[in-house]
């Protein structure tokens, strides 16, 4: 039962909030002062969107124990719903479109979460693939969703909230940061509430959870809805803040796997794990391509690079599963503990 103990919050630990606040201060003040536009466009914006998607999937998979291979589908629903709400409802503020898009994704999530009432484990994981293929097919097939645009690629609207427009890379970064910070805080509150404990109970032992009075079906569906809501909004950020276009092709199966990898590498059942995982997934390919061109020059053409990236990513995942099954978060805990003991030792001497 050690899994449960480690999932519960240590609320008597104020230093935890201090670290979070310091990170937020750096994110809000430090990064915009120092960062170049490359940093925002290529690293921070995708990082924020993917982190949020990771938080969403972690609620479903890490906390409630329902494996999903269709994350990108819910992101796509969010992105397209926000686009259509914004386009078709006159005078609807952008924030309202985004929240409604979250609810649209939650509704689709509920529908595709229904099989979880009867299916478990791999059967469920495979059935979530249905969401992936169906949503992508529907968005490509029916041009209504993309407002009959010929190429299927559409420009995202400007990010304006109450008359203030978030422009340029830094503006979009602030917009994404606000959304991610708010939703992460809410997710943190959720997983530490009774509902969050119900998720964990259902994950660890469904029958036992039912016996102690957890409404298993309701809990599972709620997990699907909440997780899809968050992933839908992550999809909005991905399309509106990062790519600036809305297209179905970006939300393919590879994206779903990517988000799953983020959760695994970062650490299951950990909100901050999603951020660790997303950081690694975003930065790692850039580093590898830099390293490749630095070491081998032009020998490293893009095809070879692509394949090498696949191989290294695969190896990395296997290594993580073998060496650090609890993810980067566990690594982080160990490092922090070690620094803590070292500090205390030096102080006592």
């Amino acid at each position: 039962m050690s899994a449960i103990a480690s999932d519960l919050p240590h609320s008597h630990f104020p230093a935890r909030w201090a670290v979070t606040l310091a990170l937020l201060a750096i994110a809000y003040v430090g990064v915009p002062l120092l960062g170049s536009s490359y940093l925002f466009e290529a690293i921070l914006l995708p990082f924020l969107a993917l982190s949020l998607a990771g938080v969403g999937l972690n609620i479903l998979t890490g906390y409630a124990g329902q494996v999903s291979l269709g994350s990108a589908a819910f992101m796509a629903v969010g992105a397209f719903a926000a686009y259509n709400f914004n386009l078709r409802v006159d005078g609807l503020p952008l924030i309202a479109s985004i929240v409604l898009a979250g609810f649209a994704a939650a509704a689709i999530g509920l529908v595709f979460g229904l099989p979880s009432l009867r299916l478990k484990g791999f059967y469920l994981a495979v059935s979530t693939l249905a969401a992936q293929f169906f949503v992508q097919w529907a968005l490509t097939k029916f041009s209504w969703f993309s407002n009959d645009s010929a190429s299927g690629v559409i420009d995202a609207p400007a990010l304006s909230v109450a008359g203030f427009v978030f422009e340029g890379p830094v503006g979009r970064y602030y917009f994404a940061l606000n959304v991610v910070a708010a939703l992460t805080f809410l997710s943190y509150r959720l997983v530490n509430s009774q509902t969050g404990r119900n998720f964990i109970a259902v994950r660890d032992n469904e029958t036992a959870a039912r016996i102690i009075g957890v409404q298993v079906l309701k809990t599972k569906l709620l997990a699907f809805a909440v997780s899809s809501f968050i992933m839908g909004i992550a999809g909005v950020l991905w399309a509106f803040a990062y790519l600036r276009t809305v297209e179905p092709a970006g939300f393919n199966l590879d994206r779903s796997f990517q988000i799953l990898f983020i959760v695994i590498i970062g650490g299951l059942a950990s909100i901050r794990g999603a951020f660790f995982g997303a950081a690694l997934i975003v930065v790692f390919p850039l580093l590898l391509s830099r390293l490749g061109s630095f070491l081998l020059g032009d020998v490293f053409d893009s095809g070879v690079l692509d394949m090498t990236q696949r191989i290294v990513l695969g190896v990395l995942i296997i290594l993580f599963l073998i060496l650090e099954p609890d993810g980067l978060v566990a690594l982080w805990h160990r490092v922090r503990k070690r620094i803590g003991t070292a500090l205390r030792r030096s102080r006592s001497q």
Binding site: P115, S127, A130, E206, I211, F257, L260, G314, L316, I318
Partner: protein, 298 residues
Amino acid sequence: MADFDWLFFIEVLVGGLLSGVMYSLVAIGFVLIYKTSGVLNFAQGAMLLFAALTFVSLTERGISFPLAFIITFGVMVFLGVAIERTVLRPLTNKPPITLFMATLGLSYVIEGAAQLLWGTQIHGLDLGIEDLPFDVGGVYISQFDIFAAVVAAGMVALLSLFFRYTRIGLGFRAVADDQFAAIAVGLRLPWIWATVWAAAGVVALVAGLLWSARVGVQFSLSLIVLKALPVLVLGGFDSILGAIVGGLLIGASEKLAEVYIGEYFGGGIEGWFAYVIALAFLLVRPSGLFGQKLVERV
């Protein structure tokens, strides 16, 4: 529906059933591994691609078909043993979902390695079987499909005999039944797993060759996994018979749906229709057609 074209219906049905056989071929590889080690091997598609690509590249370098087959056979066996050594053994006793993730990572590695090794261009493969339709009482059936069905039947027969009458097969069944009991009576689990993965590699080779002859050797071969998954869900992950029946059902209903109701959806429904069938079925029988029922204990 007075003028319902029965001949056409049968033609579509038979075509669907035969293409279902192709799905079954892929699904059998999954079942082998799932039965004995409880792992849903997502890398099966990547193994298929790797086998087909190796075979084609060897023949293009002037090696004869039988020799290329034997070499690829050896490579797949080696690959199976290597996977057991490097990936599965360190992950023994981990939850099934961890192992599934590992095979997901593995599929990335194998796909990347296959294309890094043999290049990314598309190859054609001619097995020397003509894909001519022939006439059976007014219904046209593809000769190649028949050949594929015969190969599939042969493979299933061989596997069944192997499972039933050989010592290794008995070991497989023992491990599938109860891992701890199998270890207790002295079966060497690592060795059995290595053998199973090697066998799945060989199944991947056969399926890979047939699929390649159909669609050419290219990256999308590894996506055939996604076709095999609904078959598995429908038939049950741990039943070879289920893989066959599931494949036939999915193949037939997919083709019929595409022809008869596809137009109402604007076509292109084959990407998800199989999943919908499988899901609808599972709502009635959650462990598939022939899957084992799970008993839950607290």
